[in-house]
Structures are given as C-alpha cells and as structure tokens.
C-alpha cells in the first residue's frame, strides 16, 4: 500500500516536472533581435554594430531631462520656439522620426560629422552653425543662441543618439538615398503626381494641415509658411532624394513610417521640380553662398 503510494507520488512529480519542463522550453514568441547597422572605420571596415536606441532608454541617462527637452524641441519646434521659427515646420518635418531613420536626414552620425568644411559656406562650420543654418533656411527663421539651453539640449539628444560611436567612425547609413541626377525634370507631370500622391496630406495648394491647436500635422510644401529658397530642399535633386526615399509615409507594412519607395526616380524629380519652384520666401543672405564657386546645377540663385 505504502509502496504504491510512493510510486504514484514519484510518478506524479515526474509528470508534473516534465510538463513544467516542456512548458518552460517552449519559447514564448517575442520580438526578433533588434536590427542593427554596421559601424565602419575610415577604410570602411566593420568595427562594430549600432542599434538605434529606444527612447525609453533616455530615462536612464544622467542628463535625461536635457535629452528629452532636446527631443521635444526637434519634434515640436514651431510650437516651442516660435521666436526662432518662421515657417510652419518642425525639424522633424525633414529629419523624420527624430533623425532615427536611414535615408531621411538622420542625426545618427551628425555629431561625428562636425566640424567640417562645407562648400556652401566655403569654410569650416561646427554643429551649432549647421543647426542655425537649418533655422535660417529650412525653418525660414532666426538662429538660436549658440550657448543657450535650447541649442545644448538639441545637441545632447544627438549626442545620446550617437550611442558612443567613436568620432572617427561612421554608422553605415545615409542622409539621403540616391537619385539619378541626369534626369530632365518635367514639372507638368510633377503637378499631376502631386495631385495623386501628395495632395491628400500636403493640401491641394501645398498649404499642409494643422490640428485642433494649430500645430502642424502635414507641413506646407510651398507658400509663405514653407522653407525659403536658401534651404537645401529648395534644390530639385536634393528634394527628389528626400521625396523618393522618405515620402509619402504610410505606404508599406514595414519601415518605421512605412515611408518612401513609391515613386520612380523620374517621378521624384518631376514632382520635386514642381513643388520646389512654387512661390516661397526669399533668403537675403543667399549672396554669401558658394563664395568659392562649385555651385551645384540645381542651386536656385
């Protein structure tokens, strides 16, 4: 009697144990390992991997408040810095998703790029100057105080995003994807494409769309509230690179914004020629650009 109890008990425990073991070994499905990019040295040898960090990791940083403030300024620039922004535009309007996306003007390598010599300025510029360049041209506004809290916060965000990649190394991503620059633009076709593939968001008259607070949902593509003629995006082929690889969003089941890859190179060039040449604010200091020549063929002045 005792013995059979014992045997039954042992059997029961063994069964329970193996059941538990079976359950434990059956993997609970979860996210695949995070995608990563190669980190390259000057000779393009891979020296490590870079994973785009999750924003919630910011909370663990000693200067979390500063980084979060910088992140907000980049995303909500027009609302938070009205004195410096002239256009209905945020930094995120062109640097998609806080600069975290490949081929959409990312900030991942930005800190490591500067200071550098820029042909448009004809001299070495540092990161503060570069950011203020976007304030004055792309945002059609006024420069930030180079030493101010706002400038420091934005750079703190970009610094965090770099995730300690060494100054001389580069994460293997691009600011903008390639577009065939030998193509001749056809603005009439561009107008038709605009109506089919852009107007639903950017408005029939390129005016964009605002939310209940008057904040920008879809930025304007031309008119008084758009970027000025001195912006990089005012150039047909630079705009086409962005349009081809980053616009429109919400087109695919993959990609952080389901963005880009809908237009052919020709279509991207056509539509870019069309909207960049619609009326937009002038940029007075344009006379100082490209002091040493080498003006690109699509420069506007």
């Amino acid at each position: 009697m005792r013995k059979s109890f014992l045997i039954a008990g042992v059997a029961l425990i063994a069964m329970a144990g193996s059941a538990a073991g079976w359950v434990a070994t059956r993997a609970v499905p979860d996210a695949p390992p995070a995608a990563s990019f190669a980190v390259l040295d000057a000779e393009k040898n891979e020296v490590g991997r870079y994973v785009v960090p999750a924003d919630k990791d910011i909370f663990a940083q000693p200067n979390a408040d500063e980084i979060i403030y910088g992140k907000r300024l980049l995303a909500d620039t027009a609302r938070l810095l009205p004195d410096n922004v002239g256009a209905a535009m945020n930094c995120n309007s062109c640097h998609l998703l806080d600069g975290k996306i490949d081929a959409a003007n990312g900030y991942i390598n930005t800190v490591n790029f500067y200071p550098r010599v820029m042909p448009r300025a004809g001299k070495e510029v540092d990161l503060e100057t570069r950011i203020n360049g976007c304030f004055q041209r792309s945002m059609n506004g006024r420069p930030l105080d180079r030493e101010g809290r706002e400038m420091k916060a934005m750079i703190a965000y970009m610094e965090w995003l770099r995730q300690g990649v060494a100054k001389e190394h580069r994460v293997d991503i691009v600011n903008a994807g390639p577009v065939d620059e030998s193509l001749i633009p056809d603005p009439d076709n561009g107008k038709a494409i605009y109506a089919q593939k852009c107007a639903a968001c950017h408005g029939v008259n390129g005016e964009g769309m605002r939310d209940q607070f008057g904040d920008i949902i879809f930025p304007p593509l031309w008119g008084d509230e758009s970027f000025n003629i001195g912006a990089g995006l005012a150039r047909t082929y630079k705009a086409a690179q962005f349009v081809k690889w980053a616009m429109p969003p919400a087109m695919h089941l993959d990609g952080q914004l389901g963005q880009g890859g809908v237009l052919t190179d020709q279509e991207a060039v056509d539509v870019s020629e069309y909207f960049t040449h619609m009326p937009r604010p002038d940029f007075a200091p344009k006379v100082n650009d490209w002091p040493n020549g080498n003006k690109p063929k699509d420069a506007r002045y």
């Binding site: 609970v28 499905p29 979860d30 996210a31 695949p32 995070a34 995608a35 999750a54 924003d55 919630k56 910011i58 909370f59 979060i68 403030y69 907000r72 995303a75 995120n92 998609l96 998703l97 806080d98 109506a195 089919q196 593939k197 107007a199 639903a200 968001c201 769309m209 939310d211 209940q212 607070f213 949902i217 879809f218 429109p248 969003p249 919400a250 087109m251 695919h252 089941l253 993959d254 990609g255 952080q256 914004l257 389901g258």
Partner: protein
Amino acid sequence: MRVLKLALLAGLSALAIGWGVAASTPYWFAPKQDRKVDIADPELIARGEYLARAGDCVACHTAPGGAPYAGGLGLQTPLGTIYATNITPDPETGIGSYDYGDFERAVRKGLRPDGVHLYPAMPFASYKVVSDADTEAMYAYFMSAVKPVAKQNQPTTIPWPASLRWPLAWWQLLFAQPRDFEAPQSDDPLVARGAYLVEGLAHCGACHTPRGLAYEEKALKEDGSGRFLSGSVLEGWYAKNLRNEDTGLVTWTEEELVTFLRTGRNKRTAAFGSMSDVVEHSLQYLGDDDLTAIARYLKSLPPRPGREQWRPKEDVTTAALRGGDFSAPGAMTYIEHCTACHRLDGKGAPEVYPALAGNSMVFADDPSSLIQVTLAGGRMPSTPGHSMAFTMPGFAHLSNADLAELMTFIRNGWGNHASAVTEADIARMRKEIAHKPVHYAPEAAQ
C-alpha cells in the same frame, strides 16, 4: 455480450436513421422551386449585379489574382480547408447548367443540385431571408453577365470521416431553419430596408455575431437577447460590437457610419483586416440610400441594460504629452513610435490617420484587433472617394512587454477606458499571426 450487441445495433440504426433523414431533406426541408426567370432582362441583370455586390459573393468566390467568381479561395476551418466554388456560368465546371431552382436552393438553402449539403462557410443561413425577386435578379446576372471560366473546383482538405457531408443536413435542420424576412417594428421604412440587408445579403452577422460550439451564429437577427451583432473574433480580428451601445456604435453618428461604410474611413477610424475587404469589394458599391438604411438600422439596435452610454473620462493625456511629461507607463513608447502619425492628442489626421482617442475599436471589449493591427499593420481599402489609401506599418519588432504597456496606455489614454493588455495577450497574437491561414487554393498560391 448481449448488451454490447444491442448497443451496437442501436447505434447503427441511429446512424441509418440519421443518414436517411439527411438524405431526404432535399425533398421536404429544402424543396426545389420551379420558376422561370427571364435571364435576358437587362434591368434584372443590372439589379442582380448590384445585389451580388451587396452579397459580396466575389470576396469568397474569387481566388487572389484569379478570375472573378471562378472560385478557389480557401476558407479555413479547424478540420481543414473548404474552397469556395466556381460560380461562373461555365456549364462543365461552374453553375452554367443550373436552372433557377438549383441556384436558389444553393444560395438560400445550402444544397447542391446533386443533393449534397453545403458547409456553412457559404453564408446561406443569412441569405435565407433574401427575397425571391432579389434571388431571381442575381440568377439573371450570374447566368447572363458573368464571364464563364472553365476552372475545376478544389476538393476540401477535410479528412474522412469528417468529410462526410450528410451530417451537414442536421446542422442545417438545427441552425438554418427556413424563415422569411420579418421587418422590425419601426415607422421608418429605411430601418426595415437596413435590417433586410444586414441580416441577409450583407451578412454582417457572419463576422460580427458570436458563434456557438457548432459554428452557428448565436442569433441570426435581433431577438431581444442582445447577441445579434454583439462582436466576434475571427482570425485574430475582433469584428466589433455593432449594437447601439457603449463599446458598440453609440459614439458613432449615422453620418459617420455611412462615410465609413462607403469609404472605409471617417474622421475617427479606418477599416483594416477583413473589414477593409468588405468595403473594397462590397459596401463601396452600394447606394447612399442603402448605406443610410444599414446605418439607421444598426443605430436602432437596442443597447443591453446598463450599456446605454459610453462616457469618456477626463483627458489628462493630451496635456501631459504636450507638456513633455512622458513618465506614464507606455507613454515614451507611444511618443517614439506612434506620435508621428497618431499625434500627441491621439486624434491622428482626419481621413488619413485614424484617431485613437474616443475610437470605439481601441476601447472595444476584446483588444484583439488593436493588438493585431499594431503588430502586423493594416491597409485601408481603396475607394474612388479618396485619391490615396494609407497603410499602417507593423510593430512586431517591439517587445511583448513594451507592446503590452503601450496598448494599455492607448486603451486608457485621452479619456478612453478599457481593460489592460498583458504580455501573454501579445504572445498569443504573435502565435496566431504566425499560423495565419493562407487563403489560397494551392495552384493560386504560386
């Protein structure tokens, strides 16, 4: 020994009687109608085409990329795959040799001309209330205006003995009794028209009414029990509650409903999953009068006691997010991955990005749709009403823990309130998505 023999005998006779009754139903339960239809009447054909749209016959009877109505789409059941058949008027492989009586019996009574019973995957239980006049019109359309396609039907993959069809007769006896359409009590003729479409051709209940153990819809019409159209899960999508109550449609106006049915989107929401197909293949073709009828009827479905209203709680989320307070669990994940489209105020962009605030699919009783659309993404239907249809990318690359927190945040943000979503819920949906049935006949898959 004697007892065993007796039991065996009893069992066999029960089986024999069961089979006998089943084999006889074509004569008494589902007799064939004898009637002539003028299939050349252009008016009848045109009306039939419209009604076939309302019935969404094309959705099941067309394989992806295949010829319309030539069959081949596989419908998954736990026992195997049932393929919708070729209903083009090809005399060899389609329904070209059917007279009106054959057609009527298949569509409204689930019976093939050779006396074989159809699976309820063909929604004859709903089509039962379709009027004679409408059935005739559809017959004329299929016979005269659909292009015949020679394509053999695909046998089901259900193994023997489950593949025996005569027990389906018993299913039909139990769950698809003959019935005529009874208009609901209402002074508004549109409500009756709406009921006729919803219960019948549009077969909304096939997806939106919960099903019982035998796969029967728990109610085929409004019967006072509150079960009709009270929400059901299919393939991991929650076809939500459509009754005029809290988590159903009480927060929707008739106009919003009509806009949604016609275009697959309105200011607050957008269709995805199988509803996207319903709009794309069927509802967008219906007239405004019929869509209004459907909407008015749904808005007339009485709420169950205690569920008359849905009141949002106070919205503290918008101010917190706009003020830079991302400390709530899930808020930072939302900010990182969702605000670019659904925005800090959770209102999205009208007709482009659906709102999450005040959107009844977000705070639905069952979060399946919310989880699946976030994991796998979704596509709006394309309709002529809009120049572009938008797609939401999937977020399966986020961890279960992040997604559970995020879903709970959304279901309780901006005044929404609903139960929490757990990591196990997310894991379960990942499994479901990984084992998603493929709706193709084998040859159509390549």
